[in-house]
Symmetry: C2
Subunit: 336 residues, 2 copies
């Protein structure tokens, strides 16, 4: 029996879930936390707030298309956006390793500031700790965020229902493959870039257009699209049918995955969302997504079925069907 | 010239301030963050919220009187309380090192749950990351917290004024000396215990009694009482006069400090607050503090002077006067 924390516990897949369900949630048992959504929804007086936290430990800290600071801003904003919240402010918790070059620290501060400004949000509170050399790894960043939820009802896996169309806002696997190739120092013929990007403006536009027809949103980060879909199928209880060929994948990501033997459906995304909408809104949602820079490659990738087994059935490109599984036993550590 | 992050940058003293003012705040420049208070104060609609974050990296993770999880709950609650806020909820960001024993993780989950329950607060959202062995140190915990501020005006260093009495809610240095002796494995004749404790109920009682007569509160964590006082004197602009003999110090802490050569005024506290009140409320505040378990050793330790040099003048036990300085060049890493 496993006695220690392993890298797999941080993969966002099955082992992560087991750690939570066995060693953490039983002690903290409360209905808001148990929802395990991207953000908690809390009511203060008449106001409904989204509250979320994420620690970023990505290695390397600078990569094509972004860096750990940009990721920390966009990632937390996106967790707020997935509950339909307008971001209000962020906190910033830094854990620095002794020996980090001040020049790199300054570069990250600048990047953080640019990402926050681009997203129209302010970092209002912070904390800085330093650990001895060899007890950390350059920099770890925690950002927590508060957003205000104006929509009613709030998007949630509880609202997924048979007939819903499942969309993804763009190509999958971009962030994951970029980190993997940057880390290994691999030079591939085609280059990939992280998709780190704030999605709250796209979400606001969708909510304005589709309103309560938008049932659920989730950003497929660690564990990728496959893990997100299996989690949502499991929690909602419904079967999802996904058309493999409909899933947008950038050609450079596809070829890198082929060379390296990775499945892009399990690779992290940092600027994409999976959206469940009532069927009558699917086409409108797709067009709206495609009309914006965040969603140019958006696609309808599947639908919610009337069967209640909580499975994800992948219709493969060659005409077969197979069940998608959550990420398991394949640690891709420190992807975000 | 310094080119790298050093442990001193995490001391909470002068080097920490320099890091912020030179390498972070210029980029994030905004009025709420620049206040550098224990919590940010933000308004959402009619509601005034306190929002704060802290990462805990204390070594060792278990120590007399507490552990890193208890610290993470109480420390963040106290930052909310210092702005007069009633805590609403916490987030929990875990960075685990590969190899951490699951038994230790479970023990910390239990402790976290107990601390949250004792304080009457819920952890509503969380995140878990794992870093490879040798890239972290067992466990780092970030907690961010949201509180609701009912008092008006909000306690702040801006409201400190000449004549104010300065109180401390109990003995100083308990946490710092406990961590230092636990870490070094020193066996002293007298034993010390961390003072980690939630202070929000004490604060609520004070606010109810003293109301707007309570001008400012701060919890003297990293850098200790001396650093907190010098910061507040610097920011408010007023001189403070402190009676060294009036500062409560537990005899075991005093003797450990004497043996080890530490000044208890610079050692971290995790269950104490410094309070500035209008002089007519000083005695009432003191009695109220002493009537509660959080404040049994409370004392009036000084007053705000009419001179505006932003200095802290310590009237020493032997009748002299000296200026207190913020913590500098004396790294006590990972005290919280």
């Amino acid at each position: 029996m496993q006695q220690h924390i392993t890298l797999d516990h941080g993969s966002g897949g099955l082992a992560s879930q087991e750690l939570l369900f066995k060693y953490l949630l039983p002690f903290l048992n409360n209905s808001v936390l148990n929802e395990l959504e991207d953000s908690a929804v809390i009511s203060i007086g008449e106001t409904k707030l989204a509250f979320t936290t994420d620690s970023y430990v990505v290695d390397p800290i600078f990569f094509p298309g972004g860096d750990i600071a940009r990721l920390a801003v966009n990632g937390t904003l996106n967790d707020l956006a997935m509950k339909g919240a307008s971001p209000v402010c962020l906190s910033l918790g830094l854990i620095l390793e002794e020996g980090l070059r001040l020049e790199e620290f300054e570069r990250l501060s600048r990047s953080l500031s640019e990402a926050a400004e681009a997203a129209g949000i302010q970092v209002v509170t912070g904390d800085t700790k330093v650990v001895p050399h060899g007890k950390g790894d350059k920099i770890f960043i925690n950002t927590s965020g508060i957003g205000v939820i104006h929509c009613e009802p709030v998007p949630s896996y509880h609202r997924i229902q048979p007939g819903d169309c499942i969309l993804v806002s763009g190509t999958v696997g971009d962030h994951g493959i970029t980190i993997l190739t940057s880390r290994s120092g691999l030079k591939l013929e085609t280059s990939t870039t992280s998709d780190t990007m704030p999605l709250h403006r796209l979400v606001a536009a969708l909510l304005e257009e589709v309103k309560s027809g938008l049932h659920c949103m989730r950003d497929p980060t660690r564990g990728g699209l496959a893990t997100t879909l299996t989690e949502l199928a499991g929690r909602s209880g419904w079967d999802f049918e996904i058309d493999e060929e409909a899933i947008p994948i950038h050609s450079s990501v596809a070829s890198a995955c082929e060379i390296l033997g990775f499945d892009p459906l399990y690779l992290a995304n940092e600027g994409k969302c999976v959206v469940f909408v009532a069927p009558e809104h699917a086409e409108k949602t797709l067009q709206l997504m495609r009309s914006r820079h965040e969603g140019v490659s958006a696609a309808i990738i599947g639908r919610v079925m009337p069967e209640k087994n909580g499975r994800v059935i992948l219709k493969t490109a060659i005409g077969g069907k197979r069940l998608l599984r959550p990420l398991t036993g394949e640690p891709l550590p420190r992807i975000c």
